[in-house]
């Protein structure tokens, strides 16, 4: 239980996927313009990361390792994540059109999100158990969402702020991301596994 709690804390704050490990920076900058889309993306990422890690962990432990094929993990995981997202999209469209509409374009976008891939790879590299892996995935996704939501909040305010012309748009966004990342450095060393 203690391990699980520390996994949650570490991967939300200390070892934040976006702000400390710099995974998934593309969606972090791309969909953080508005709070609505940021939250939509966050929900989709939490959902997909948990699902993907569950499946890849099982596949790795019960197929790749017994057959001595663990060097194929990257290729296999790409395959799994891509088809899993497709499958989820197809099923969601039929079962829950509202949720499908809500997640919208974000589901297919996530297929190419490196944070999802990273979560699956790290889960097996850290030699987590199945439960730990899923908790790790959810925590990492929440950490991603936290960064995204903070960024969206800041950017909504930046829209209204007075700013020198040279800084407008991407420039100030990147600077903000850097400062945010430095702020999260404050958690460094607080807790480790």
């Amino acid at each position: 239980m203690e391990t699980l709690l520390s996994i949650v804390f570490i991967y939300i704050f200390v070892d934040n996927f976006v702000l400390h490990r710099f995974f998934g920076v593309c969606p972090f900058l791309g969909v953080s313009r508005k709070m609505d889309t940021a939250i939509g993306m966050s929900m989709a990422v939490i959902f997909v990361m948990a699902m993907a890690t569950l499946v890849t962990w099982l596949l790795y432990t019960y197929v790749l390792v017994p057959f001595n094929l663990s060097y194929l993990q990257i290729v296999t995981f790409i395959l799994v994540i891509a088809s899993l997202v497709q499958l989820v999209e197809i099923v969601l469209r039929k079962i829950s059109p509202t949720l499908y509409q809500g997640l919208g374009i974000f589901l297919p976008l996530i297929t190419t999100n490196c944070a999802v891939m990273a979560v699956a790879l790290l889960a097996v590299r850290q030699e987590f158990s199945l439960v730990e892996s899923v908790v790790f995935a959810i925590a990492a996704a929440i950490g991603f969402s936290l960064a995204l939501v903070i960024m969206a909040g800041i950017r909504e305010r930046l829209e209204l702020a007075k700013m020198p012309d040279v800084l407008q748009g991407s420039a100030v966004t990147l600077i903000t991301a850097g400062i945010l990342s430095m702020a999260f450095l404050g958690f460094k060393g607080m807790l480790s596994l």
């Binding site: 194929l72 290729v75 088809s83 039929k94 079962i95 209204l160």
Partner: protein, 284 residues
């Protein structure tokens, strides 16, 4: 041997996932009316919401199911209506889309400021702060909330501090009208004829004339002179009913501050800048 295992394993997995997806696609297939897609392609796709539906996709569904009419899509105009009529068959009446008109001509040379505002660059925020930085608490503040919201690049902020509508590009969706915190923009049927009182101030005449050179001072000269009784007072503001207006122009002649203009001759950005330059030349 190792490579054979690797190829086999990956190939099998690929096949398995492919099959799984194929089966899922069959089981969970959602039937979509091909006409919905066609209609969705025919509309402008700006998702402006002027039709009252949540985006163009929803509108397309509503049109195909007969719930919405083709001409509910205001930005699409005649072309879209024709395209939709072709897809669905049958005649659909066309309608003309309105044009955004700003009911304020108090530009930064004619309407004076009370103080220098240096806060958030947004009309709604600037207007909340001490009733705005202009002496007129009804006039355009010029921070361009209407410009920001326009999906068609049909409004830009002129150098004279008032937004300028490009009538060619304006689709009449009305997003700017609802974005203006002072409700200065009205959607009017397109046309050059008829006169308008280009002011929205409900202040007393004295207050208006102190705040703005071209504001309506509620003198009622236009109401009295109008031969067809098309002008009525709405509080302290004269309002011309375009349907009754016969385009005679008597009211424009009588208006002391020059608030009334023919629709074809609403003061443009160039006019305002020229007038301002003349004024500085005179005083110098």
């Amino acid at each position: 041997m190792l490579i054979v295992y690797a190829i086999l394993a990956l190939g099998l997995m690929g096949l398995l996932f492919g099959l799984m997806l194929a089966v899922a696609a069959r089981i969970f297939a959602v039937e979509v009316d091909p006409r919905v897609e066609a209609v969705k392609d025919a509309v402008p796709g700006a998702n402006c919401g002027a039709c009252g539906y949540a985006g163009c996709a929803k509108f397309a569904e509503a049109v195909v199911s007969g719930e919405a009419k083709a001409n509910d899509c205001i930005p699409g105009g005649e072309e879209t209506v024709k395209a939709i009529a072709e897809i669905l068959g049958g005649d659909i009446e066309t309608s003309v889309s309105p044009v955004a008109t700003l009911f304020c001509i108090g530009d930064c040379f004619k309407a004076s400021d009370r103080f220098v505002y240096d806060g958030v660059q947004d009309c709604a925020v600037a207007g909340e702060f001490n009733d705005g930085f202009k002496n007129c608490s009804y006039g355009c503040l010029g921070y361009g909330n209407c410009v920001k919201v326009c999906l068609f690049d049909a409004i830009y902020m002129g150098k004279h501090g008032l937004p300028v509508v490009d009538e060619e590009k304006c689709t009449g969706c009305g997003l700017c009208a609802s974005a203006c915190p002072r409700e200065l923009i009205q959607m009017l049927p397109p046309g050059e004829e008829g006169y308008l009182v280009l002011c929205s101030s409900q202040d007393r005449g004295k207050t208006v004339s102190r705040a703005c050179e071209v504001g309506c001072i509620a003198c009622k000269a236009c109401v009295k002179v109008c031969p067809v009784e098309a002008i009525e007072m709405d509080g302290k503001l004269a309002v011309i009913d375009l349907e009754k207006c016969t385009d005679c122009g008597d009211c424009k002649e009588k208006c002391p501050p020059g608030t009334i203009h023919r629709r074809s001759a609403i003061p443009s950005e160039a006019d305002a800048l020229a007038a301002a330059a003349e004024k500085t030349a005179e005083s110098a």
